[in-house]
Amino acid sequence: MTISREEPLLAAEGLTRWYGRQLGCRDVSFSIYEGEVLAIVGESGSGKSTLLQLLSAQLEPSEGHVRYRMRDGVTRDLGLLGEAERRFLFRTDWGYVHQDAAQGLRMSVSAGANVGERLMANGWRHYGRIRATAETWLDRVEIDRGRIDDTPRTYSGGMRQRLQIARNLVTEPRLVFMDEPTGGLDVSVQARLLDLLRGLVTDLGLAAIVVTHDLAVARLLSHRIMVMKGGQVIETGLTDQVLDDPQEPYTQLLVASILPA
């Protein structure tokens, strides 16, 4: 069958999540297509992390749906997927980059095993090929091959984050979720990571949803921006349009608050 290029890869419809009487996020709708990078920006508590968890089926919405076009071209409601199908998405078709690399890596096994594990979960069995692929990925994320047998415990923060990216991208996912991927890193390390991410996202034609409170990160990485405040999307549009010509009072405040370098 032919897949219509016009059908989104992922579509959120009226996503709402309450934590008891506390609002997580309310009535969020948007679509994302292959090759697109969407940044979700806003301050802590604006609902962006809740939204990311809803989108990646880690949290059930109180209302609304997330539809995802699977590799076979059929669009499914994530809420209706079985546990095995959801796990398959996580292992293969999705990546999830945590702010804290320790959450996305297994800290006590080697770097090579961290990358290889995702391949084995996809049925790879040939040790030599798994190791060779892991080495290629360490190169791509600029980690010295000589460190392949070391555990990420011995890595710096920037290296851990790059290793986490390699582990996520090795299965060639179509969609990657990133939660503050450069948070907590030194600026020089951030710049390197951003540059790396930019290159990989373009080369692989990934779709990515990046949660960040850093507008400079959004500017560099994303095509589109969604601004959240108090659990709701208050402004959305092309990244340079939202940042150069913000319409809403809150967005204007965010943009005006960037410190000049």
């Binding site: 297509y33 697109e36 710049a191 390197r192 951003l194 540059d195 930019r198 373009t202 560099l220 095509h223 589109r224 549009g237 092309l238 340079d240 349009q241 150069d244 010509d245 319409q247 809403e248 009072p249 204007q252 405040l253 005006a256």
Partner: protein, 231 residues
Amino acid sequence: MTVLDIRNAGKTFTMHLQGGLRLPVVQGVSFRVMPGECVVLAGPSGCGKSSILKMIYGSYRCGEGHIVVDHGDVRVDLARAEPREILALRRSAIGYVSQFLRAVPRVAAIDVVAEPLVSDGVSRSEARERAGAFLARLNIAPRLWDLPPATFSGGEQQRINIARGFLPERPILLLDEPTASLDAANRNVVVDLIHARKSAGTAIVAIVHDDEVRDSIADTVIDIAQFTAAA
């Protein structure tokens, strides 16, 4: 045959941090650009020339009116287009040389220039080769090609920006003071590039303050002051 048709376009900034102050920029902007034509926007600083270019590129919202791009079988009104349509239009139809280069940390000058070609699907090696040839034409020394342009001089950065905007050969080219920080020799190179692009059928909208450059490239000069909105 019009590539770019601007009808009654207008723009007002609302400054919420200044108590909702409304700052009208331009209104009733109307002009057309044909393939191979160069329209120069003239008028004093602050009259809204750059805002018009940004509205055509889509980095400023067009508040009223229409900005219609017509090329091949694509016809899009930028005032109403979805973000993905604007992105697609930038990839296929609109090149933009902004006044200042927005440098990305760590990315080499040659890759900054090659990037639009790569996203067009040209292989990285070919894109870099063509980017290098273009940089050489703009007198950027090869020893600079592999350095990030953040530390370059103003004139060098401007030429990197020009190379990035000209190389992908889009049917519409927007130029915001492309020769402002260039010496005479490099200014002449850029004027030659603009002439070459016009002969190839590119529709150009430019802001140029240099009279000599303007007289050389302009087919039509539009005084933007006539559209400046009354405050």
